[in-house]
Symmetry: C2
Subunit: 355 residues, 2 copies
């Protein structure tokens, strides 16, 4: 596979070639290892460098792919990864989104409009309280009603109780309105707990799941997306920030737009510019383009900006980001003077009027 880097110092090239393959000095390497195993520079334009590693070094596992991508060099500095040539990798290593932009449009009956997402919060509420919120949001017409990513299996609202209550509430509201709102429970847990929660969500009639791939492990997302009973996956960036440092790590477009999409995220949640976080607009636009653009035949993923989106300026973001976007608006709906249903209906109107 070929990995594309931007380096603070091109003197690091040989260190990267060795560190990400054999981890030994050149003078200890037999000729066949030097020739067939060590990474090779295949392109260079100033600080932009592309290094090719044999697919055999990766084998067939995503954990080892991530190791070759950013294992030991994560401990260095000044190395940014901007891309990977996905088409060089074995076709069964990554699969991309199962539903993606077009599959989700069909499920929602939203053929051209942008779509909306909100979050059930705060942690500390009871299952009945969350279900009541979910019901109101669904009556108002929010498309994706997700758990806050901080809802796990706390005693205040254990996973199964909360998840079943909210799934029922959204399905009941849909039956009443004829709508197709989707409840998105947060399923991240230790080890196989994540998959058991996925199965429980499918059984309860939840229409999608929320996963934090960097709290679980990234390969978990791939495995969920490839299941025969797959439902759409929203990926949340909790615990991922260290991977997208200003001078070291992955570009935000690569992590959220490309790697998560390759791993099977149908929705990629990222911190919108101008909200509670500090991403520049250019980074947000680059994530959007990467998530939607041509990439190894993978379905497009929904860019899902959030983190401080406001009701009052949502129309501006629709203009800026376009229709193939899922707008995540949380706290601002809870501030609406007329309650959650009215807030949701306002958002729905905005989405419809942009179609």
């Amino acid at each position: 596979m070929t990995i594309h880097y931007e380096l603070a110092d091109v003197a690091q090239i040989d260190a990267i070639r060795l560190e990400q393959s054999v981890e030994m000095p050149f003078d200890t390497l037999p000729p066949h290892i030097l020739e067939h195993i060590v990474g090779k520079v295949v392109a260079q334009d100033g600080a932009k460098v592309s290094i090719h590693y044999p697919n055999g070094n990766v084998g067939g596992e995503i954990t080892q792919f991530l190791n070759v991508l950013f294992g030991n060099i994560s401990l260095l500095d000044g190395i940014r990864i901007t891309g990977v040539d996905w088409d060089e990798l074995p076709s069964d290593l990554f699969g991309g989104p199962t539903f993606g932009i077009s599959g989700m449009r069909e499920r929602l009956g939203a053929s051209t409009r942008p779509i909306s997402c909100t979050a059930l919060k705060p942690v500390g509420s009871t299952p009945a309280e969350f279900a009541a919120m979910a019901y109101e949001f669904a009556l108002g017409g929010i498309d994706m009603i997700k758990d806050d990513h901080g809802l796990a299996d706390q005693p205040y609202a254990p996973f199964l109780d909360r998840m079943k209550a909210c799934a029922d509430a959204v399905n009941e509201a849909n039956a009443k309105t004829g709508g197709r709102s989707v409840y998105v429970p947060h399923i991240t847990g230790p080890g196989e707990v994540t998959e058991r929660r996925f199965e429980a969500a499918v059984a309860a009639g939840a229409g999608a799941v929320l996963l934090c791939p960097h709290l679980a492990a990234p390969d978990v997302m791939h495995r969920l997306a490839r299941r025969s009973d797959a439902i759409p996956i929203m990926a949340h960036p909790a615990f991922s920030g260290g991977l997208v440092g200003p001078t070291h790590g992955f570009t935000r477009a690569f992590l959220y737009g490309a790697l998560w999409r390759a791993l099977g995220a149908d929705f990629v949640i990222y911190p919108n510019t101008g909200g509670r976080f500090t991403y520049p607009l250019a980074d947000c636009l680059a994530i959007n383009d990467t998530a939607r653009g041509a990439m190894n035949g993978f379905a497009g993923a929904w860019p899902t900006p959030g983190g401080g989106m406001q009701r009052a300026t949502l129309h501006k973001w629709i203009e800026t980001y376009g229709k193939d976007t899922c707008f995540l608006i949380g706290g601002s709906l809870y501030q609406h003077p007329d309650g959650l249903r009215a807030a949701a209906a306002e958002i729905r109107d905005l989405m419809e009027s942009a179609s």
Copy 2:
């Protein structure tokens, strides 16, 4: 639980309190949530701030612990986590090392001396080649003979073939010398593959395992350490570098010395100063102190500096770091003019003479 931070800007305190609990604006919060769920500042000394979160926000899962620790704030900047009050957490959430410093001394019959570790490399070699190296290292008396962390399940040397060949080789050498060298296969894989490899390693008579907790998920380490058939765990820092950035993330002492130890690492591998990586000596000493010092009754973990350790200067590191240290020396042994066994015997002599 209480988390200790060093902040670039104390104006971030309220953002952290909200972001890591309810993720909503203050004006949307019912009084009981504000009182019982939102994080509270319990100590402040300039930029050093301690915030307490109810244990209920965490529940009983390590994934959610990590979420409260560094979920959304990972996406901000200028926030360093320096510590956690482990004794406030439920006693079954973390268990610490199963063997630790004293348990490993018993296993190795090394009552006071420092211990040694090397790595089998390079990737691209065959199982028979790795086994031959392991045999030589064991005959020479290296204590811990680990796989390179870049050895996964590649076609050059599939996991089971390599692991069994190396375990047999080390056990055969031990039978010949009366020594107690330990083979440490790398078991990181996707999902439950890691646990299946752990079981295979135990069955084959490997005496410890190597795990990359940030390629798998950190909770995997905890689960392995708490198994009834547990064997010692060496933790490797691959893919972790983004978590210990210069101004944001965890201090190195907290991640490698404290969090990994809490999660059950018997050995914490970190990049030594003056090697291929650029950790300052003060950071290495702080990792050592944290891994060994008093901490919630947990067994001490072996600080395991590596990443460019040299034969010629190893005596200096023994003086600097002391006897409760595992010295990881890889490439330099392969450069020895008289071969691996002679190199290993030199290292063993150094360890014995320091006891």
